[in-house]
């Protein structure tokens, strides 16, 4: 797919990897709209111009249904959906703490699954519905993670991202006949604020030692991977791992 003048929705595009994707896509001439819950960040993005902004908590189905309906009224079907929004959360199933053995917080489990997996389901259902109804030959790119393979200390996050990979394969099988490709990009550990917030410096230092390239990924490298997946019309149903060779 040639990106120039294509309508692209990026969830969680206010900061981090999503922001980098937005910049790369606008450079390519795409008409990008960001769905994000960060109202202040959206205002700042809107002031810079060149990008549409929609305030939406993509882990809430009602908000997604309303926001996508408004988007479709204004622009018609999107050509590309990038499911990037999510939260990075690290906690093992159990940990030995001062008060003995502590279980993973079930509320945190629910929150991560809602933000990282349900959001992908909600957004894709609402956006693809319109693609199908208008016979738009679109692309859905899900941002997964190398943690989908199972990363110690990330029960909820790993499970959510494994779910994203399963949805990617499932939807590619279901939607390809309608001309809609679905693929995923799985970054390894990347230089973003959310990585620094969720993973301690010492753990990150040890992780880098396990990366054959001995460094973290750069957001631009991940954004380039997303562009590649969109532009290569034969890439479908697969996860494009961008991890510097890391094997968990």
């Amino acid at each position: 797919m040639e990106l120039r003048d294509k309508r692209v929705i990026v969830t969680g595009g206010v900061r981090g990897l999503g922001r980098c994707m937005v910049e790369r896509l606008t450079e390519k001439g795409a008409r990008v709209t960001v769905f994000d819950l960060d109202a202040r960040g959206l205002e700042e993005l809107e002031r810079r111009g060149g990008v549409g902004c929609v305030e939406c908590d993509v882990s809430d189905y009602e908000q997604v249904a309303t926001a996508t309906a408004r988007y479709h009224e204004q622009f018609g079907a999107a050509d590309v959906l990038i499911n990037n929004a999510g939260i990075l959360y690290s906690a093992p199933l159990v940990r030995i703490g001062p008060s003995g053995v502590e279980k993973h917080d079930p509320a945190a489990w629910q929150k991560v699954l809602a933000a990282d997996l349900s959001s992908v389901f909600y957004m894709t259902a609402c956006v693809v519905e319109k693609m199908v109804a208008t016979r738009t030959r679109g692309v859905v790119v899900n941002i997964s993670s190398v943690s989908a393979a199972g990363n110690a200390g990330q029960s909820a996050y790993s499970a959510a991202k494994a779910g994203v990979n399963a949805l990617t394969a499932t939807w590619a099988k279901e939607l390809s006949l309608m001309g809609i490709r679905v693929a995923a990009v799985a970054p390894g550990f990347t230089e973003t604020e959310s990585t620094k917030e969720a993973i301690s410096e010492s753990v990150l230092r040890e992780t880098v030692k396990r990366v054959p390239l001995r460094r973290l990924g750069r957001p631009e490298e991940i954004a380039d991977g997303v562009v590649h997946v969109i532009e290569n019309d034969f890439f479908n149903g697969k996860v494009f791992e961008l991890d510097g060779g890391l094997i968990l």
Partner: protein, 73 residues
């Protein structure tokens, strides 16, 4: 056209009559329906609209849609 439907729905061509509907064939689910749409589009070199795809719930309706598109001579 009947042979195309029979091939996609994996049933004998003799059973593909005008009265045959999606409800009559277990295998004719929504995914199979899209497979059928793609096969028809490729065979008759056309792109069906969403409304046409939704309307094609029976062999008779498929023939009507294709007839209106002049795909069936």
């Amino acid at each position: 056209m009947e042979s195309l439907l029979a091939e996609v729905l994996q049933m004998p061509a003799a059973l593909v009559t005008d009265d045959l509907t999606m409800k009559d064939v277990d295998a004719w689910d929504s995914l199979k329906h899209m497979e059928l749409v793609v096969a028809l589009e490729q065979t008759f070199d056309l792109q069906l609209t969403f409304d046409e795809i939704v309307a094609m719930q029976s062999v008779r309706e498929i023939k009507r849609v294709l007839g209106e598109r002049s795909a069936l001579k």
